[in-house]
C-alpha cells in the first residue's frame, strides 16, 4: 500500500526468476502491488510493501514465489 508503510527489510518474500513462466498470477492476487513484469518474467518492485499474506506463493503454478514468515 502506498500511503501506509510498515517495517522495512523484514519480509520473507522470495522470487526465483529462473523458474518464472510469466503467467502474472502473482500480481493478479497481490493486494499490495508488490510485483511488476519485465521481459516476460515477474519482478519484485516493492519488497517492503509485502505483508506476507502468502497469496502469490499459494497461486504460483511453478513454485517460483515463496513467503515463509516465522511464528508471526
Amino acid at each position: 500500500m502506498k500511503e501506509f508503510r510498515y517495517i522495512h527489510g523484514v519480509s520473507s518474500l522470495c522470487l526465483d526468476q529462473s523458474l518464472c513462466i510469466g503467467c502474472k498470477m502473482c500480481s493478479r492476487v497481490c493486494p499490495q502491488a508488490v510485483f511488476s513484469h519485465q521481459g516476460g518474467k515477474a519482478a519484485i518492485q516493492d519488497h517492503d510493501g509485502c505483508m506476507e499474506c502468502g497469496a502469490c506463493g499459494v497461486n504460483c503454478p511453478v513454485g517460483a514465489v515463496s513467503v515463509n514468515p516465522g511464528v508471526g
Binding site: I7, V10, V29, C30, A33, M51, G54, A55, V58, N59
Partner: protein, 326 residues
C-alpha cells in the same frame, strides 16, 4: 435470495460491529441463487460470515448469479483464507457437494481476490475441473466488473485503509480489550488507596480517580487515536505510534486537569498512559490490511521488554509515592 437490506440485516450488522453476536453471525454454507441464474450465469464464491454474505448479495441488485458459500465457521474471506478454512480443500468439496457441474455449462468460479491466500487456483482446477478467476476485492466493484466482461481494472486489486474503514474497527476493538482488561480498573483503583495512614478513602477519591482516568485515556489513545491518526502519527512501528499518541494525550490530561498530584506521581501516571497506548497500538497491527507477520515480530521483540519495564517501574513509583513522600 433478497438483494435489498431489511431492518433485521441492519440491526444484526450493527450488533456484529459492536462484537455482540460476532461469533455466531453466520449463514448456512451451500449454493444460493440470486435473481434467476441460468446455465451460463457466473458463480461467485464467498464466506459464510453474514456480514460478508450480505455485503455481497446487496451489491448485486438486478444481477442473475450463483453464490457458492463456503463453510468458514462464520469468519470473513480474508481472515478465513489466512487460516485456510476459506481454501482449496473446502472450495473443491463445496463445488462437488452442491452439484454445481449439473447446474452450469461453464467451468469457472469467481473467487474474491483476498481469498487467494487460501485458494490455489491451479490446484482447484486440477481437483475439480473448475478454473478460478480472481474478482475484485470490494463487493461494490463486482457489478461493474461483470458488466465489463470480467476484465481487470485499476483500483480493484489494491486494498485500502480509509478513515471510515479504520473507524469501523473501533467498537469491536473496545469490546475485546475491555473484556480482557476490565480487572485493571478495580485493581489499580484500590492500589491507589494504599498509604502510610488511614486516609484510604480520601486517597481513592484523588489518586484512585486519576489512575482510572489515566487508564481510560491510555485505552482511548491506543484504541481511538491510533486508528484514526494512523497515517499522521510518526514512525512505522505501531508501538511507537501508540507511544506518541499516549504521550500527547497523557500530557493533555496532566496539564488540563488540576490533579493535585506531585511530580513523581504525575510521571508514573504519564508512563502508564504511554505504555497502555503503545501496547494497544501494537495490538492494532492484527487489524490492519498491510502489516506483515515478520514486521510484527520485529517490533514486538523490541517493544515488549520496554513496555514491561516501564509499567513495572511506573506502578512501583505510583504505589510507593505516598509512603516515601509522607
Amino acid at each position: 435470495m433478497a438483494t435489498s437490506r431489511s431492518v433485521y440485516d441492519w440491526a444484526g450488522a450493527a450488533a456484529a460491529r459492536l462484537g455482540l453476536n460476532r461469533d455466531s453471525y453466520l449463514v448456512a454454507p451451500g449454493l444460493y441463487a440470486i435473481g434467476a441464474p441460468d446455465r451460463a450465469a457466473p458463480v461467485l464464491v464467498t464466506a459464510n460470515y453474514k456480514l460478508s454474505f450480505d455485503t455481497l448479495r446487496f451489491a448485486l441488485p438486478g444481477l442473475n448469479v450463483w453464490l457458492l458459500v463456503l463453510d468458514t465457521c462464520g469468519i470473513n474471506v480474508w481472515c478465513a483464507a489466512g487460516k485456510g478454512t476459506f481454501g482449496t480443500e473446502e472450495l473443491v468439496h463445496r463445488v462437488k457437494a452442491s452439484g454445481l457441474e449439473k447446474l452450469v455449462d461453464h467451468r469457472r468460479l469467481v473467487v474474491p481476490q483476498l481469498g487467494a491466500t487460501g485458494v490455489s487456483a491451479h490446484q482447484v482446477k486440477k481437483q475439480s475441473g473448475f478454473s478460478v478467476q480472481y474478482g475484485p476485492i470490494r463487493a461494490s466493484d463486482i457489478s461493474t466488473w461483470l458488466d465489463n466482461g470480467a476484465r481487470e481494472f485499476e483500483g480493484m486489486r489494491d486494498v485500502t485503509f480509509t478513515l471510515k474503514e479504520r473507524s469501523e474497527l473501533i467498537p469491536v476493538e473496545f469490546h475485546l480489550v475491555l473484556k480482557s482488561m476490565w480487572w485493571l480498573f478495580p485493581l489499580l483503583f484500590l492500589l491507589s488507596g494504599i498509604g502510610p495512614d488511614l486516609a484510604f478513602t480520601s486517597r481513592l477519591m484523588s489518586r484512585g480517580v486519576w489512575m482510572v482516568s489515566a487508564l481510560l485515556i491510555g485505552i482511548g489513545s491506543g484504541l481511538i487515536l491510533v486508528p484514526l491518526l494512523l497515517p499522521w502519527l510518526p514512525g512505522r512501528s505501531f508501538a511507537l505510534k501508540g507511544a506518541i499518541a499516549g504521550l500527547l494525550s497523557g500530557l493533555l490530561l496532566l496539564f488540563w486537569a488540576e490533579t493535585g498530584l506531585n511530580l513523581l506521581e504525575s510521571g508514573a501516571l504519564l508512563a502508564l498512559v504511554v505504555v497502555m497506548s503503545s501496547y494497544l497500538g501494537m495490538n492494532f497491527t492484527g487489524s490492519t490490511p498491510y502489516t506483515s507477520p515478520s514486521g510484527v515480530e520485529w517490533e514486538m521483540r523490541r517493544a515488549i521488554p520496554v513496555q514491561f519495564c516501564l509499567s513495572i517501574g511506573a506502578l512501583l513509583i505510583w504505589v510507593g509515592a505516598p509512603l516515601v513522600l509522607s
